[in-house]
């Protein structure tokens, strides 16, 4: 318990510092926020053009499509908010400054995973949450399904965590690749749209091999009452397996770490 509180305190200090540095980057952050807002708007419009005119496409109505889109944004943004430090891992690795994090009596993985809470994304997260709640209320949901939806959102975060840990580990193992995190981001972008638009083989691959489907497509499906009980069990099983696997691979990567810089 004492250990946990101690870790939490350090987490708060790191978050506070990341808040303090916002001012130094305010111009860039302004453009960044603008860009993110436009992206959200553009995809929203795209969905409008694609699905509003063809309401029968894949059995989803427009409202459901938007819930899928917002669920994607929520999970994606929550992961970015919490794990922003992962995006700064490569410079740390290349310069060798990671050495000085490794020798600190504070868990390295926690530091490089959670050490940079992103406050601009926190703002977006709240924004998405409000719109999501708005559309959830508009959609007539069943309470059990809503409960499963939240449970699967939690499950999606376990998967997101595992993916980010894998990104860190692969960063150490394959130092010549400079955008591992962006590969993750592009793969997850399959989840922005209803999974049913993809062909079955691709869909199954994305769901059970790369569990991106479990992350983004399962929660709304549960909400709409379209997910079987077995699939929910499988979802949790896959997440836990991947999560422990990612920790193992992280440990392995530390043994292979060769320290950059000089």
């Amino acid at each position: 318990m004492k250990n946990f509180l101690h870790s939490l305190k350090i987490y708060f200090i790191l978050s506070l510092y990341s808040f303090k540095t916002i001012n130094d980057h305010r111009k860039a952050i302004f453009f960044f926020i603008l860009g993110k807002f436009f992206r959200f708007l553009f995809f929203f419009l795209l969905l409008f053009f694609v699905f509003k005119k063809n309401p029968s496409v894949n059995q989803y109505n427009f409202n459901q499509v938007i819930i899928i889109y917002l669920t994607f944004n929520f999970i994606d943004t929550l992961a970015q908010t919490l794990y922003r430090e992962v995006y700064r891992f490569r410079p740390l690795l290349i310069s060798g400054d990671l050495d000085l994090i490794l020798i600190k009596p504070y868990n390295t993985l926690i530091r490089v995973l959670l050490g940079g809470l992103d406050f601009t994304d926190l703002g977006f997260l709240i924004f998405y949450l409000f719109i999501l709640i708005f559309f959830l209320i508009k959609y007539q949901f069943d309470f059990l399904n809503l409960f499963l939806y939240f449970l699967l959102l939690g499950n999606a975060m376990i998967l997101a965590t595992a993916f980010h840990i894998l990104v860190l580990a692969f960063g150490i193992l394959f130092t010549t690749v400079d955008h591992t995190i962006m590969i993750y981001r592009d793969l997850t972008s399959f989840g922005r749209f209803p999974f049913d638009i993809y062909r079955k083989t691709l869909r199954d691959f994305l769901t059970f091999v790369l569990p991106i489907g479990i992350m983004f497509s399962f929660p709304p499906k549960a909400l709409f009452g379209l997910l079987s009980f077995e699939n929910i069990i499988i979802a949790f099983l896959i997440s836990l397996i991947l999560f422990f696997l990612s920790l193992k691979i992280w440990g392995f990567s530390l043994k292979k770490y060769q320290s950059g810089g000089s």
Partner: protein, 318 residues
């Protein structure tokens, strides 16, 4: 305090093959032996200098001793721990300063990084204040800790790095090229600081540096590494006694010597009125008396060969 037995470290780097497919799925590696079966031990309160050419394995040794790198094989015991386990208790007792790497938060004043370390190392308030005061006064830089790190010069930043690394009163300190890239005044300041600090607080310090000056002024014990092997381990004084078979005699002449004289001795340099001779150690008395007879001089000094020369020779012969 530190014991290392038969330590070996092999780096593996992927080799580019004919096609991408092989590069990804059937990676082949080139093996580089960074440390080749080395053994040594270091006691409390020692100040040890690691010397050797680039890629000799100095930094690798320190990184293994601090738990950053995983050794390929060998036994290592530092303060009763196996470093790679990265036990909190162990990490709280060590510190690592690297001249080219930085732990300070770039956009914020150094004091924020210090406060973060205070929490990470769980330093008591009083102890923290005391240590901070101590360190800033020895380094004479209390005015810098409130300025954003990015606005500091390289030398000033190094001072902040040192404070950040020493606040928790580490028992063992690893210093990897702490003076690299600094101007001579900053080098001097950091050297003096390390000297004072070690004397006052009785720390075990292990240092590598390209500037032999650092090692000469600070370390009492020298470990020379070349191609992953230890080729000398002993005091600075012994290396001169042991390896140097020659001495240098410098003379200031009163008048020009005869050609005959110049031919007879091995001259290092001659530009009237200065004359420098290199002499075998065991012949020193004999030569000096010869000089007394043969020439007039107003001044004579007898020196050891410069340590740089001795080390160069050792590395060459190895």
């Amino acid at each position: 305090m530190i014991t290392v037995k038969n330590l070996t470290k092999i780096y593996k780097t992927p080799i580019r093959q004919k096609n991408l497919f092989q590069d990804i799925f059937f990676r082949k590696y080139k093996e580089t032996i960074a440390l080749d079966n080395i053994s040594f031990s270091i006691d409390e309160n020692e100040f040890v200098g690691f010397i050797g050419p680039n890629g000799a394995g100095k930094t690798t040794t320190m990184k293994i001793l601090s738990g950053i790198l995983y050794p390929t094989s060998g036994e290592i015991d530092v303060l009763g721990f196996y470093p790679f386990d990265k036990k909190e208790k162990f990490l709280k007792q060590i510190s690592f300063v690297m001249g080219q790497k930085n732990q300070l938060i770039w956009d914020l004043p150094a004091i924020d990084s210090f406060l973060l370390n205070k929490e990470i190392y769980e330093i008591e308030d009083n102890q923290f204040k005391k240590n901070l005061n101590n360190l800033t006064s020895i380094l004479n830089c209390s005015n810098l800790i409130n300025k954003p790190v990015k606005s500091l010069s390289l030398g000033e930043r190094m001072k902040m790095e040192l404070i950040a690394s020493f606040l928790h009163d580490p028992k063992i300190i690893f210093l990897d090229e702490p003076t690299i890239g600094l101007d001579i005044f900053s080098q001097e300041a950091i050297r003096n600081f390390l000297k004072t600090y070690q004397k006052e607080f009785k720390k075990t310090i292990i240092l590598t540096s390209h500037y032999l000056e650092d090692v000469k002024k600070l370390a009492k014990r020298l470990i020379i590494i070349n191609q992953g092997k230890i080729i000398y381990d002993g005091s600075l004084k012994n290396i001169i006694d042991f390896y140097s078979k020659e001495k240098i005699i410098r003379l200031t002449l009163e008048k020009r010597p005869e050609d005959n004289f110049l031919k007879k001795h091995s001259l290092l340099k001659y530009q009237f009125p200065f004359l420098v001779l290199k002499v075998k150690k065991n012949q020193i008395n004999q030569i000096v008396s010869q000089l007394n007879e043969e020439i007039d001089y107003s001044d004579i000094t007898i020196e050891d060969e410069p340590i740089e020369e001795i080390i160069k020779k050792i590395l060459k012969n190895n």
